[in-house]
């Protein structure tokens, strides 16, 4: 169990904890909301990294698990009056189930074909949910404001969802590190490097890939419930926004795929940058900088892909040998 003493693990965990707990200690609601956005992004990126970074399967459909989980949780709360924690688990379980069902089929596809299939899955589920009456079809599911009463009012409910997202992101980091340093993780990484060679060495690739997909899907399923519960409603277009999947991919690329710290740093950096750009008052000529936030994000991303494809953490590990012992 010596892997639990690795400084890289503790560094990552500390970053997430520090980020997560700052609003709790200052009781600052503004920080809490920013924290929620960032921790949500971190958990999405860390979970996507399991299938993408460790296993090498690039999924453009990670948001399908977020959306479907969110819908399931909202359905449980709205129709069955389920308490939030149960709904969160229900959302996670449903997404995991979808991943299990899909995994065996679409994980046979490799490379870009798999990426395309995941886009297809997301769109298929989105358009299906827009027709699915129990989930409200196009109007989605709405919660009564009184729902928050059982958690002590809206303010407490928002704090509760925030504690939830802290718990999930901490769990995500521990779980991701556990996988990375486990025998199962070694199998996944051998699949990433050379799937055929991995099979020959005895890695039962269909099972390993499916399990990785399931693990990867469970977390966004839970996150979706928290987010939509907090918002009080869910609609198909919000739940299955392809752009969110792609943003998660970008975060992983920024930080460094296949590393533990990378997705955390990538998500943090990306969300901070977007947050700053969105709320900045600076001007470019006569136009506000805000108008160019998409352009700036795009340029930054292009530069990273072209010049430091391994991402920040990957690049640091390549460049500075001593950092390999500190960063994982």
């Amino acid at each position: 169990m010596k892997q639990w003493l690795h400084p890289g693990f503790w560094l990552t965990l500390l970053i997430v904890l520090a980020l997560g707990l700052a609003p709790v200690f200052t009781r600052n609601a503004g920080l809490r909301e920013t924290g929620f956005t960032i921790l949500l992004a971190i958990s999405m990126a860390v979970s996507l990294n399991i299938i993408m970074g460790y296993t090498g399967y690039v999924s453009f459909g990670h948001v399908v698990f977020y959306g479907l989980g969110g819908y399931t949780g909202m359905y449980l709360i709205d129709t069955w009056g389920a308490p939030l924690p149960l709904a969160v688990l229900g959302g996670g379980a449903t997404s995991a189930l979808l991943a299990f069902g899909l995994g065996k089929a679409i994980l046979r596809l490799r490379g870009a074909y798999f990426a395309l299939a995941t886009i297809g899955v997301n769109e298929a589920v989105r358009t299906f949910v827009a027709n699915f009456k129990p989930f409200g079809g196009p109007t989605g599911i709405e919660l009564q404001f009184s729902v928050y009463k059982q958690y002590g009012g809206a303010a407490d409910a928002l704090w509760l969802t925030y504690y939830g997202v802290i718990a999930i992101s901490v769990f995500a980091v521990i779980f991701s590190y556990y996988i990375k340093t486990s025998k199962f993780g070694l199998g996944l990484m051998s699949i990433r490097e050379d799937e055929d060679a991995a099979e020959v060495m005895g890695v039962i690739t269909p099972d390993a890939k499916t399990m990785a997909f399931v693990f990867s899907a469970f977390l966004p399923g839970m996150l979706g419930v928290l987010f939509f519960f907090k918002n009080g409603n869910v609609e198909p277009a919000d739940a299955f926004r392809l752009g969110f999947s792609i943003e998660s991919l970008v975060m992983i690329m920024l930080g460094g795929q296949g590393t533990l710290l990378g997705p955390v740093i990538g998500a943090l950096g990306y969300q901070r940058l977007r947050g700053l750009l969105l709320t900045s008052d600076a001007m470019i000529g006569s136009l506000p900088l805000k108008d160019f936030q998409l352009v700036i994000a795009g340029l930054l991303m292009l530069v990273i892909i072209l010049f430091i494809p391994a991402g920040l953490v990957g690049w640091l590990r390549q460049k500075f040998a001593f950092l390999r012992r500190i960063l994982v």
Partner: protein, 435 residues
């Protein structure tokens, strides 16, 4: 010895500099803090001089969809709100009971037309930008998310463009709707149709498959059935659809009226496609798009299309509060160089609702302003404004009603918008049948 003295000296210098640096703001603040007291003691001496009113700035916060699919509607609404703010401030602000005067300032962020950051941005508006009042984002879904924050922080929020009735049935107490709710968007066009042609019986409903449009047509269908119409088709289309041919082909040839639509882009495209396909309906009424001035860009395809509007420049109400329609239009044109649409008027009306509430309450206290807005019952250039105050539907707009416009041709053959319903506000007869 000398050396240590020098060191001591140096340390003292640094220390005193540091202290000065820390102390500086304190020194400056002290007189400022005492100023009111000083003013108070001096006041009797300067009794004749007009008392310089103490000014307060109330910040109104909102998010707008600067980018993304809701950009058009949102921009106009912003313009309208900004016009209101500039005018109130130019007129000297709103006086309160304690003699202070409130001026307004706004703070807004881009929500990119999606929900991801709405709550974060509204929390930031409330906690960091110290917004006193809130305006909702455009669209019901985003408004719902922001309402949770408004309620949590006890801030009054006026919604514009958040039409769905369900938002006001969720138990909020501080959210007020400026617009006629979704359930009443298209029901009026059925009344209009009945008036134009008692024999019309068959209606086809084609609508965007999203929350707002579905809410509208659900109410429409129920109303139509109640009135004895036959709904021969009720079909949705995906948001972002541009090719309407498949759905138009499903509309039976003998249909009397086509109703539905969704938002601006798809509504405009749908109207264009109906014309391109030579559909022979006698009456077409679509959501959102027809009242927009730019709807006429599709040329003759716009002819005869009816649309519900929250407000029309031509519909002259006699306001008992705020500017007249003509004054608003003139000011808006001067400021933005274009005809105001109902979104623009809605933005202005949202400002009026706040202004009236603050004036009546004579304070910025939320409970007092809430009570004042609850009791608002006024006629503005935008129309009648009054809110449901029951627990089940608190904040739902019950005073305001839609006007229906139709694109017609003037003597020179140019497309013009005419108000055709309600009859008391009409500026022209309904063209019927249009084909």
């Amino acid at each position: 010895m000398k050396r240590s003295l020098f060191n001591l000296f140096a340390v003292l210098v640094i220390l005193s500099l540091a202290l000065a640096a820390c102390g500086a703001p304190a020194v400056e603040e002290a007189p400022a803090a005492e100023a009111p007291a000083a003013a108070a003691t001096e006041a009797p001496a300067a009794e004749e001089a007009p008392a310089a009113a103490v000014e307060k700035t109330a910040i109104v916060g909102f998010t707008a969809s600067l980018t993304g699919k809701l950009n058009v509607e949102s921009t106009r609404q912003n313009n309208g709100f900004k016009l209101w703010m500039d005018q109130v401030n130019a007129a000297g602000g709103v006086p309160l009971a304690d003699g202070t005067v409130v001026k307004f300032d706004s703070k807004f962020y881009d929500d990119e037309s999606n929900k991801d950051r709405v709550q974060e941005l509204y929390t930031k508006l409330v906690t960091e930008d110290n917004a006193d009042f809130l305006i909702s984002p455009y669209s019901s879904g985003l408004a719902d998310a922001s309402a949770v924050i408004a309620e949590q922080y006890g801030k009054i929020m006026v919604t514009t463009g958040a039409a769905s009735d369900s938002t006001y049935q969720k138990g909020y107490t501080l959210v007020y709707q400026a617009y006629t709710p979704a359930s009443a968007y298209l029901t009026g066009s059925l009344d209009l149709l009945a008036n134009a042609d008692a024999a019309a019986k068959k209606i086809a409903i084609v609508h965007e498959n999203d929350k707002f449009s579905t809410d509208v047509v659900t109410a429409l269908e129920a109303y139509a059935i109640e009135k004895g119409y036959e709904v021969v088709l009720n079909e949705g289309y995906d948001s972002g659809t541009t090719d309407f041919a498949p759905i138009i082909n499903k509309i039976p040839a003998d249909v009397d009226a086509i109703m539905g639509g969704g938002h601006f882009a798809d509504g405009q495209q749908f109207a264009k496609a109906l014309s391109d396909k030579g559909v022979a309906a006698k009456f077409i009424s679509l959501l959102v798009a027809p009242p927009e001035p730019t709807f006429a860009e599709i040329g003759d395809a716009a002819f005869g299309i009816v649309g519900p509007s929250q407000w029309e420049p031509l519909a002259a109400f006699a306001p008992d509060y705020g500017p007249t329609g003509a004054e608003f239009i003139e000011a808006y044109k001067a400021a933005f160089g274009e005809e105001p649409s109902y979104h623009a008027a809605g933005g202005y009306a949202a400002g009026l609702i706040l202004q009236k509430g603050i004036e009546t309450a004579g304070s910025l206290d939320v409970e007092a302003v809430k009570a004042a807005i609850d009791s608002e019952d006024m006629m503005t250039f935008f129309g009648h404004i009054k809110f449901d105050t029951s627990a089940e539907n608190h904040g739902l707009q019950v005073g305001h009603s839609m006007v229906y416009v139709q694109w017609q041709k003037d003597a020179s053959g140019a497309l013009v918008k005419q108000v055709v319903w309600p009859l008391e506000g009409k500026t022209a007869e309904t063209v019927y049948p249009i084909k």
